[in-house]
Amino acid sequence: MSRSLDMDSLVRSATFAAALGLFFLLILLPLASLNQYAVREGIGVFWDRLKNPDAVGALRLTALVALAATAVNAVIGTTMAFLLTRYRFPGRKVINALVDIPLAIPTVVTGFALLLMYGPLGPVGRFLGERNIQLMFSFPGLLLGHVFVTFPFMVRAVGAVLESIPRSGEDAARTLGAKEWQVFAFVTLPAVKEGIIAGAFLTFSRSLGEFGASIMVSGNLVGRTQTGPLYIFSRFNTGDVEGAAAIAILLALASFLILLLLQLVQSPTARRAV
């Protein structure tokens, strides 16, 4: 009996060590090497690279797009999650599956699809073009790309919370005479607050690292429409590995802090729900 218990604990600690070891090797070590490159020429060079106006511009644009994409998806994604979990309608399963499509297709394809739709060849692009509205190669184009790529995160995070909370609260509100929008605004929305926060953090950090769609739709103009990841790529290609690593470290650190914050803000009740 005690022997088998020993075996159990041995297996458990071996699995534990293996999992942590692999996590270290596959995930943490590559990030650590980045750090080594970033400060290879000294912290002064690292700081210098961060202060470069093109780098600052790229980081600012990245933060703005990520914020905007998060805001847009907070509204659309939450509504979508609400529809998918609270209503039964024909085609619901298909739409539910389609929600995850942005995760499955290469982001470069996303960018190309947007170019086709909003370009002079697409009906939408022609319609806008006749009114002198040019969405691609500017902030709105970039935002469209990021909203597309990060779309699933909010829907799934809010959806998970909605699935787990009983409808009795909503039903009670209805019984008391609340209108549908009141039920949504005063009962459902506060209940899924945690889901929205989780979705927002995930959306924001995914948006920080977006590359494939951005390079197609942004125009990649230095200091104007070049985001952080595009800046990193171009620095790397010009041979300025320190510059690339410095910005990369900053973005990785930002993502880490955001995700850590997410862990901290999730209250125990919410964690149970998710």
Binding site: F137, M216, L221, G223
Partner: protein
């Protein structure tokens, strides 16, 4: 029976021996040369090497933008021969000790192929774009790839600058005709994607009046049945791809094959293959054969007219072009 056994044993021994005879080398080549290299040049080289020296050679090739290739080689990619779009990359490999030989001693100072910078326009060139000054007209929409990631874009920017510059008086200041023309054209640039290929994707989606790119890319896209027009400016730059021997990666048994491959790139057979895919051959005789394929440039110039690669990169791209990007 005994003889049969001996024969079998000999055969068995011979098989690995024959395998060991195969020399393996790797070439890294600027992505625009991919079709010419894999479809024509490498198979022809293998055949040539086998016939002439009775040995098998196996050449693997990798293709990417020249800057990426250079970074991969710096990072330890086991490449013995590199064909790159900028001499600066070869210089950097030399500085880091990967190249110890002198590529300038090869024919044409290391250049194996040439091209020129042209415009691709919509069919029939509806906006009548014939010179770089035309690209500067208000309202024109121009595409070229990013000079940070694409060798072709660096040439494109040199071409624009050079078209407006006075070669006897390159000041690179705001009064320099080249800088003036460059800033005027850059105002009309709507996107600078990563590579020349991506500019075509955006052009195909309907964006832009013109792409500024290599003539060989333009010819290649046209040969695929794309419906564009090519406009060759009167005054434009001659571009070149140079070959370097990555000496530090060469083992003694590879050296012969490496030298033969470099020689072969200059041979008529390889030059013809490059020409077939739209490059301008450096070999004069092959050049004559393909004369009809290329438009004559009235007033061609080279990067040497701009003070050489090092100076041109520093003054035209890192200074003048960079300033045009700030708005």
């Amino acid at each position: 029976m005994k003889r049969l056994l001996v024969l079998a044993a000999v055969t068995l021994l011979a098989i690995p021996a024959a395998h060991a005879e195969t020399i393996r080398i790797n070439i890294a080549s600027c992505c625009v040369t991919e079709d010419a290299t894999t479809k024509e040049i490498l198979p022809a080289f293998k055949k040539y090497f086998k016939e002439k020296f009775g040995k098998d050679v196996d050449v693997s090739a990798s293709f990417a933008g020249s800057g990426t290739l250079k970074n991969q080689i710096l990072g330890g990619a086991p490449v013995q021969v590199a064909v790159l779009s900028s001499e600066l990359y070869l210089d950097q490999l030399k500085e880091k000790g990967l190249i110890t030989s002198d590529w300038r001693k090869y024919p044409h100072k290391g250049a194996v192929i040439k091209s020129v910078i042209v415009f691709i326009t919509r069919t029939g060139n509806p906006k009548g774009l014939a010179t770089f000054e035309d690209l500067a007209r208000p309202g024109m929409k121009v595409l070229h790839s990013s000079p940070d990631t694409s060798g072709g874009a660096q040439w494109a920017i040199f071409a624009i600058y050079g078209a407006g510059a006075n070669f006897r008086n390159l000041t690179f200041g705001p009064e320099d005709g080249g800088v003036k023309l460059l800033s005027a054209v850059e105002k009309n640039v709507i996107a600078q994607p990563e590579s020349a290929r991506q500019t075509f994707v955006q052009f195909d989606a309907g964006f832009g009046d013109a792409i500024v790119t290599y003539e060989n890319e333009a010819l290649l896209e046209k040969s695929k049945g794309r419906d564009y027009s090519i406009s060759v400016p009167r005054k434009t730059i001659e571009t070149e791809w140079k070959v370097g021997r990555i000496d530090r990666n060469i083992r003694p048994e590879q050296e012969h094959a490496v030298n033969e491959l470099i020689k072969f790139l200059y041979a008529a057979e390889a030059q013809r293959a490059y020409a077939k895919y739209g490059f301008r051959p450096v070999d004069k005789k092959v050049g004559k054969e393909f004369q009809a394929k290329y438009a004559k440039v009235a007033d061609p110039f080279t990067v040497d007219d701009l003070g050489g690669w090092k100076s041109a990169r520093k003054h035209v791209i890192e200074s003048a072009w960079k300033k045009t990007q700030a708005r």
